[in-house]
């Protein structure tokens, strides 16, 4: 039963894949092919490409990923409560309030430590 409900989604994703394949193949099959040393260089506004791409980059991106993980998991916990919170009443609300305040402390800590600054 579940499978039938989700089958159209698979079909739609398949349709997206078919579209992208047509687009890719159309370019490969119909477009011209003229290779050249300079053309194959990565584009950097006309300057010769210098250095490697796989360099280190800002640790901020890892920090953002970490904060994202914390808050995304938080939301996952909140979904069941949001749908059923009328039945859980004030007791459920208090529990979620404690949970959220703890996480807000986490946010405040990250904020104070400068994890949210992008200078």
């Amino acid at each position: 039963m579940i499978a039938i409900e989700y089958l159209p989604i698979l079909i739609l994703i398949g349709l997206g894949v078919v579209f992208a394949t047509i687009f890719t193949l159309a370019g490969i099959l119909i477009g011209p092919k003229r290779r050249g040393q300079n053309k194959e260089m990565p584009f950097e506004s006309g300057l010769p490409s210098d250095g490697l791409v796989g360099q280190r980059y800002d640790v901020k991106f890892y920090m953002t990923a970490l904060i994202f993980l914390i808050f995304d998991v938080e939301i996952v916990f909140l979904y069941p409560w949001a749908v059923k919170f009328r039945e859980m009443g004030w007791f459920g609300f208090a529990e979620v309030l404690i949970f959220m305040v703890l996480l807000l402390f986490g946010l405040a800590y990250a904020w104070k430590k400068g994890a949210l600054e992008w200078e």
């Binding site: 079909i11 997206g16 890719t24 979904y79």
Partner: protein
Amino acid sequence: MNEIINIAINILLDPFIQTILKIVVIIFMFVMPLATVLTLMERKWSAMIQDRVGPNRANLPFADNFRGRGALHIAADALKSIFKEDFIPRGADRFLFTIAPYFGFAAALSVFAIVPFAAPIGDFTFQITDVKPGLLYIFAITSLGVYGSVLAGASSNSKFALLGGTRASAQMLSYEVFIGISLLGIFMVYESTQISVIVDGQNTYWFGNLIPKWGIFTQPVAFVLFFVAMIAETKRAPFDAPEGESEIVAGYFLEYSGMRFGAFMLAEYIAIVGVSVLMVTLFLGGYHIPWLHLWESAPQALVTILQILKFTLLSVFFCWLQLQIRWTIPKFRFDQTMALGWKKMLPVAMANVLVTAIIILLAN
């Protein structure tokens, strides 16, 4: 003759055939035309805002140089990008480079799987499928879209593309959180994550028949937060630091050319349509027309047509609104984008959830 009609009716009654038909109609008669027209609309509208004429040169030489006020540019753009050279820069990861556009496309298209276009008639729904998780499915799908930008940026062997890809990953991940939290209020008001339940919940009224309980009235803060977060998720101006035309040229899809570039562009416009239909479905009553139930003798067919019309018009309005926002609001720097999200939207969204909970619990 009657037998043939009977067979045809039986085929049409088959749920699987119906699903296929719905997909064909919704994708090929609503989403794709709207997305392709938007590519031209964007250029025309920006031209109007900037006091230019905009694209108007494409013409049909054999038909008296017919130009159609630039409408032919839709076809001209498509033909042009097909006949352009498709190339992959040296040192790029060819496999990842090839599959990156697939993610954006599949993610953008599959949003439409759960959007209802009109009220169901009997067993027949105007919705491709009504999965129980509903919006949770949308969250899962929008997360998939991140892979497209990140893989494109990382596989191109270009520094600009890598910068764009990392920015895209940080921005899209962050704004996913705000999308999730802002919609918590909607889940609380309508007590479900299933789209059909949320849409039907918006068909009730406050004060007798005075104000419809649309998402925009029950959750005005969530309306703004969700719209902003969704625009950031499509990476369009004012949140276009991952593409950053003035600094990193085109960001994560910089090295894409020809039709593969076209795939990224079309996926972006499909995503715009996706944002619009979600806004209408969640915050503007979906297909429900307010106060129409007062007209009790309304013929079913007319009601359905009006509902589809209302849904389409409002969707087009939101598409236009996104174009308007893109061309009127100056872009944010990347640090401003992130600060707006984590320092302003997150606390506001969480406060919105708590206030909603308190109000509803007090009202009970």
